[in-house]
């Protein structure tokens, strides 16, 4: 007779596992990857590959030779970090900056805290912000999209992002109408589909939203975080637009430019560094939305979502402590 196993209940397990979750995220990123390849061609492929491979490599090296523990690079978390990191950089970024970014992402932001599940900050964003501060020139010279099947253009052509244009314009004392009239400002449709200058993954709001809906459907992320960020940005920017449309641009512009969609859907929802409870997720989302707009409107940088998410990441333990799920049978008892 074989030996029976003894363990506590439950004796069955659902179908979820870490790998599945991570590869669902990768799958959700596919539309955005395709769009970026469409607009930036081989450059996009190059940046994506370098980022993913170097993230995997550093995770492997650190787990194998520094921690000397089990190697878990196949769980997909490094792939996700690499893809998100690549999404945050311009397509013409020199390869060595990308590698340094990957090292910071994996080495400092992830493994130094103990690896998957322990990092307080979103690793890809830490890497991105590190690169942005260390290599501001390379990180902010975005190539103009050169669609895959169009006649190839030289790499030298770079253009500012829509947000960059806005910031520069406002600094130069122009009003909104004048800025929008600038020929290099992308049209609304272009902003939606991604035909504008910018980082790889920030391009197409539509592709990102498709991926986001897919993840919500597969229950990898909750709708509360992206929705609350987008809502806050819309409302907050809308209020200022109503107060003075001369200086403050309309809220829809804010929604579809820069990294907002990418940040709201993929970065802020990172399981490890976002709050655990629904009420906390609202607080977190609203906080990110507010800080983003504050940085965009009055800060030194044209884009603020990365900083906003990192700042709110730091508040997550506090949010988890303060915002609990509604306990069953504690309040609102209908008698």
């Amino acid at each position: 007779m074989s030996q029976f196993t003894i363990s506590g209940s439950p004796h069955v397990h659902g179908e979820e596992n870490v790998k599945k979750i991570m590869y669902t995220v990768v799958l959700a990123l596919v539309p955005a990857i395709l769009v970026s390849i469409y607009f930036f061609g081989i450059d996009a492929v190059r940046v994506l590959l370098i980022a993913v491979i170097s993230c995997l490599f550093f995770e492997w090296v650190i787990q194998k030779y520094l921690i000397k523990g089990p190697v878990t690079i196949t769980d997909g978390s490094a792939v996700v970090a690499g893809l998100l990191l690549a999404f945050n950089v311009p397509a013409n970024l020199p390869w060595w900056i990308m590698v340094i970014g990957a090292l910071v992402t994996i080495g400092i932001a992830k493994m130094s805290f103990g690896g998957l599940g322990k990092n307080p900050f979103n690793p890809a964003l830490v890497g991105r912000v590190f690169m942005l501060i260390s290599f501001p020139v390379q990180m902010t010279s975005w190539p103009v999209p050169k669609p895959l099947f169009a006649n190839s253009l030289t790499d030298a052509i770079t253009g500012p992002t829509a947000l960059g244009l806005l910031k520069e314009g406002l600094d130069a004392g122009k009003n909104i109408d004048q800025i929008l009239a600038d020929p290099s400002m992308p049209a609304y449709l272009d902003r939606l589909t991604g035909n504008m200058s910018g980082s790889l993954g920030e391009m197409s709001a539509i592709a990102l939203i498709i991926g986001g809906l897919f993840m919500i459907w597969r229950k990898v992320i909750d709708w509360q975080v992206p929705f609350s960020i987008i809502l806050t940005v819309f409302v907050f920017a809308g209020i200022f637009h109503l107060i003075d449309p001369e200086i403050y641009i309309d809220p829809v512009f804010h929604l579809f430019t820069g990294g907002l969609m990418l940040g709201a859907i993929y970065m802020a929802t990172d399981m490890v560094s976002s709050p655990m409870n629904i009420s906390g997720k609202w607080v977190y989302g609203i906080g990110i939305g507010l800080i983003t707009i504050i940085i965009r409107m009055w800060g030194a940088y044209p884009e603020g979502i990365s900083f906003a998410i990192l700042i709110m990441n730091a508040f997550v333990p506090l949010i988890n402590y303060g915002f609990k799920p509604r306990r069953f049978g504690l309040v609102g008892n209908k008698k």
């Binding site: 030996q3 029976f4 196993t5 003894i6 363990s7 506590g8």
Partner: protein
């Protein structure tokens, strides 16, 4: 320029003076009178903060020692198992007292249900904590008293003195043991006991706490105490008591004659650090001789010490 310097200097001096005065009065007001002996005693304690003395840490033990010395003029019932006699002597010297020598203790594992002796009948698949497994089921070998082998005692040890032997699946205590008692508390089954180290580190104890009837106990484990009372009958010093089908050797009364070890049919009585047995049993004279010396050692024990073991 000079004027600025002057003002700055004057402000700083004034600020310093005022603060100093305030500080002085605050310090007077909230002064805590502490016996300076506490610091001195605290100095000699081992600073392991293990709680083996029964108090939260070395500092609080120092406070208790000083308090006891001041009020009762004795340190009875207080002992630092980690520091042992030397530390207690030093502490007592500071307090102007003397302490009686205490027999050093060591943790013993009263279970020998290794993988070979008590083969696994089921597989446990769950977290490695004895506390949980104890609530869940009786144990892989089927003995509801025996070691679960999941290492709560190892995790509780601050002194690196207890380790799991992967071959037997049982914990083993090494020389680093200071008898702080953490493992005794950690074991949900109460297998670990603090016993006197004994002369020349020699100890005899029943390595089983199974209270089942003989047949059942033996079915689950080859080396279980089956409660046959043979040791009880053979012991010349009445050191062995039988309770709930289980023999227990009182370390105070035991004179380490090893007769019980010989008669135990399941080898559940262990002798530690004895020389290899000669073919012929020792002559009676020799035994008496040994007993005399042993008796001397054991007389110095204190009652409180005995209580803490049981």
């Amino acid at each position: 320029m000079n004027e600025v310097l002057m003002y700055a200097l004057m402000t700083l001096v004034l600020l310093g003076t005022v603060s100093a005065v305030i500080l002085y009065f605050v310090a007077q007001k909230f002064k805590v009178v502490e016996d300076p002996k506490i610091d001195l005693v605290d100095e000699v304690l081992p600073k392991a903060n293990c709680g083996g003395c029964g108090f939260p840490g070395c500092r609080s033990f120092a406070e208790v020692l000083v308090k006891s010395a001041n009020e009762k003029h004795s340190l009875e019932g207080l002992n630092c198992p980690v520091g042992g006699n030397n530390v207690m002597k030093e502490a007592a010297a500071i307090l102007g007292l003397e302490v009686e020598e205490q027999e050093p203790l060591i943790a013993v594992i009263r279970c020998n249900g290794s993988k070979a002796n008590s083969p696994a009948k089921v597989n446990y698949d769950g977290p490695s904590t004895c506390a949980f497994a104890h609530n869940l089921y009786a144990g892989e070998g089927g003995c509801q008293f025996g070691c679960l082998g999941l290492g709560d005692c190892v995790a509780s040890c601050d002194f690196d003195a207890i380790h799991m032997n992967p071959e037997t699946g049982l914990p083993e205590v090494n020389d680093k043991c200071v008898a702080c008692g953490a493992c005794v508390k950690a074991c949900p089954r109460g297998i670990i006991e603090l016993r006197p180290k004994g002369k020349k580190d020699r100890r005899i104890f029943v390595s089983c706490i199974n209270q089942d009837k003989g047949g059942i106990a033996k079915k689950n484990c080859e080396v279980a105490c089956i409660g046959c009372s043979k040791c009880f009958k053979v012991c010349p010093f009445e050191a062995i008591t039988m309770n709930n089908n289980l023999a227990y050797i009182d370390p105070i009364k035991c004179k380490l004659c090893r007769k019980c070890v010989e008669v135990c049919p399941t080898n559940s009585i262990h002798e530690i650090n004895f020389p290899v047995r000669k073919k012929k049993p020792e002559t009676e004279e020799e035994i008496v001789e040994t007993n005399k010396t042993m008796a001397v050692t054991h007389d110095t024990k204190q009652d409180s010490n005995i209580e803490s073991q049981s």
